[in-house]
């Protein structure tokens, strides 16, 4: 039954990856922007959460309530002043600019703080788990993170399909020009989408900090996992992103069952295979 436990852990890990991937999927789906600093912003959020937890003596879950709205504002500003400017130059410039930002953030964290790994003190939550049977247990942290991922996906779907602003976001994503001539302020809408994406990044960062330890260089691997989850699940569908995260989590955990150091590589191989077979991922976007 070790495999059954591995499957469960893989699925739960998928929740963390899905949380990372949501923001990336949103920004790519709406603006065709791949934020290569995505993982680094998550790490930044984790450090910020750490500062809040230790400075204000609040429990870890409360820190998320502070960090997420803060990052939403940061996201809006980054989108309107940096990413929009890069988009105006050329679509590929955005990749280069966010790549540069990634390096700057990593080294700024390294300079300001130390290279030592940290983790978010989750108190009693960290070791608490639900013992299902002899070999299977579900950690409270993993369960909470998975649940958060599902809530975030549902929330984003509701926003996109049930609100007026969500409608504007989808319209701007379909046809930027047509949207502007019907009265949509596309730049502002992009800012809103980025704000939401960054809020989810903040949540992902806090989740990551609870899950494992982090250091200034922990960003890029998270970005890669996020992108892999998005591609495996199919661009353009948030439920697909959740599925992609789960498949990636499964690949990594099952790979690690086979051989302890094979986990991450297994994930890369699944990603490359999906890319070779179906660049649009497993759940194709709705025909537009």
């Amino acid at each position: 039954m070790i495999w059954a436990n591995a499957i469960v852990q893989g699925i739960l890990l998928g929740g963390l990856y899905a949380l990372f991937a949501c923001g990336l999927s949103l920004m790519f789906g709406v603006m065709r922007v791949v934020n290569l600093a995505h993982g680094d912003f998550a790490v930044l959020a984790a450090y910020l959460a750490l500062a809040i937890i230790t400075g204000l003596q609040v429990p870890v879950l409360w820190s998320a309530l502070v960090v997420a709205p803060l990052f939403a504002m940061v996201g809006y500003l980054v989108q309107r002043f940096i990413i929009q400017r890069s988009l105006d130059v050329s679509p590929l410039t955005t990749m280069l600019v966010t790549f540069g930002l990634s390096i700057v953030i990593q080294n700024a964290l390294l300079t300001a703080l130390s290279a030592n790994s940290q983790s978010l003190p989750s108190g009693s939550l960290a070791s608490a788990s639900l013992q299902v049977n002899g070999q299977m247990s579900i950690g409270y942290v993993s369960a909470i993170v998975f649940a958060t991922a599902v809530v975030v996906v549902i929330g984003l779907q509701l926003f996109l399909y049930r609100t007026g602003m969500g409608r504007q976001v989808r319209a701007a994503a379909d046809d930027q020009e047509a949207a502007s001539v019907v009265g949509v302020n596309v730049r502002h809408v992009y800012g809103v989408a980025a704000a939401l994406a960054f809020a989810t990044v903040a949540l992902a960062g806090v989740a990551f900090g609870m899950y494992s330890s982090f250091d200034p260089a922990a960003g890029p691997p998270r970005l890669i996992f996020a992108f892999e989850a998005v591609v495996i699940g199919g661009m353009g569908s948030l439920w697909g992103t959740l599925a992609g995260g789960i498949i990636l989590g499964l690949a990594q955990v099952l790979g690690a069952q086979v051989d302890a150091s094979f986990g991450v590589l297994a994930g890369h191989l699944v990603f490359l295979v999906v890319l070779a077979l179906r660049p649009s991922g497993l759940i194709p976007a709705r025909v537009t």
Binding site: I82, S86, L92, G100, I103, Q106, P220, I224, L275
Partner: protein, 344 residues
């Protein structure tokens, strides 16, 4: 009586102007000077130049990919690593590491060939991340082989008996040869028909396809050449460092350096990476004792340049002074009108 109108002359098309001959001459002089450096200066300086040459070779190749083929790769470090490990393996089997340099380039090219069939089908963002994941996959695969050093790294055999000064001089000349070869390769490739095809692809892919340009083939050639260049750079790295460690040689940091150099110097010209590398190293010297500040500052400069001066420093210079040092374009000379002759 009839008018015999002599048709007006067609415009003359040449590949270069006089400034190019100056550049060629200057280039030869510079190269001769560089060759003689080990006899003139301390090994500290030649050692620094080795690093500059390696980075220039890498940046030139990256610029070829991004500025001309439109392929933004964040994964060239895959081939840097392949090059280094080819040298390691060959040196372990008795081949002189210096002779292994061209073999390292070839090895990287051979690995790039099947990889190209996977990644060249992908657009922009997918391509970039896929190249990065490929590099990560290579890293993880290499880490699984203890014979290649595993996590701690391996030292390069076959150099033990050599006099250190001589070895450093040889390393220097090898690096000089590689960077000159890389620049020449880029220049010749861009001056050729392929170069024209690439410019067409860069400007308008659909238009290029409609006039018969074989797009995938053009991109594949550039991808393979860039991989070979990165492989050669990797071989220089292991030779100059005398050891190799998987996580550092396959690190995305190399892509960061290439990208920053290209953004600062200017993407889309051969001169750009040269200027960018010089600026990069000047900054490094100036900020050498500030640790991570160096990357923060260089990264910030690169980001600012990408947004406000997308053609880089060279772009500004060449526009201001109307200068092209490497003649890869075409010059159109307007004809002088012929007088029409009419018989009296």
């Amino acid at each position: 009586m009839t008018d015999t109108a002599v048709p007006a002359a067609l415009p003359r098309v040449t590949r270069s102007r006089r400034s190019a001959t100056w550049t060629a001459g200057l280039g030869v002089i510079v190269v001769l000077l560089l060759i003689s450096l080990p006899y003139l200066v301390h090994t500290n300086i030649t050692g620094l130049l080795v690093n500059i040459f390696i980075l220039l070779a890498l940046a030139t190749m990256w610029n070829l990919l991004a500025g001309y083929a439109g392929l933004i790769s964040v994964g060239q470090q895959a081939y840097i690593g392949v090059g280094a490990y080819v040298v390691l393996v060959l040196a372990g089997n008795g081949v002189s590491p210096f002779l292994a340099i061209p073999l390292a380039a070839l090895g990287a090219l051979l690995v790039a060939l099947p990889t190209s069939f996977l990644v060249l089908r992908l657009r922009n963002e997918y391509f970039a991340i896929a190249t990065w994941v490929v590099a990560e996959a290579f890293r993880l695969v290499v880490l699984r082989f203890p014979s290649l050093g595993g996590g701690t790294g391996a030292s390069l055999p076959g150099m033990a008996g050599m006099d250190p000064v001589f070895r450093q001089a040889l390393t220097y000349w090898a690096a000089l040869a590689v960077v000159v070869a890389t620049l020449l390769a880029a220049y010749l490739l861009l001056r050729s028909r392929l170069g024209l095809d690439l410019t067409a692809i860069r400007d308008n892919e659909i238009g290029a396809r409609s006039v018969g340009v074989r797009i995938t083939q053009a991109k594949r050639i550039v991808y393979l050449v860039a991989a070979a260049g990165a492989g050669a750079a990797g071989s220089l790295l292991i030779i100059s460092q005398l050891n190799v460690q998987a996580t550092s040689i396959f690190s995305v940091q190399w892509s960061a350096y290439m990208i920053f150099v290209a953004l600062i110097g200017g993407v889309g010209s051969i001169e750009g990476p040269i200027i960018g590398t010089v600026i990069f190293f000047l900054l490094q010297q100036w900020l050498s004792d500030r640790g991570a500040w160096y990357l923060i500052i260089v990264g910030s400069i690169a980001v600012v340049m990408a947004m406000w001066l997308p053609r880089g420093v060279w772009g500004v210079v060449s526009d201001r002074f109307d200068l092209r040092l490497f003649p890869v374009g075409y010059w159109l000379h307007a004809p002088r009108p012929n007088p029409v002759e009419t018989p009296s």
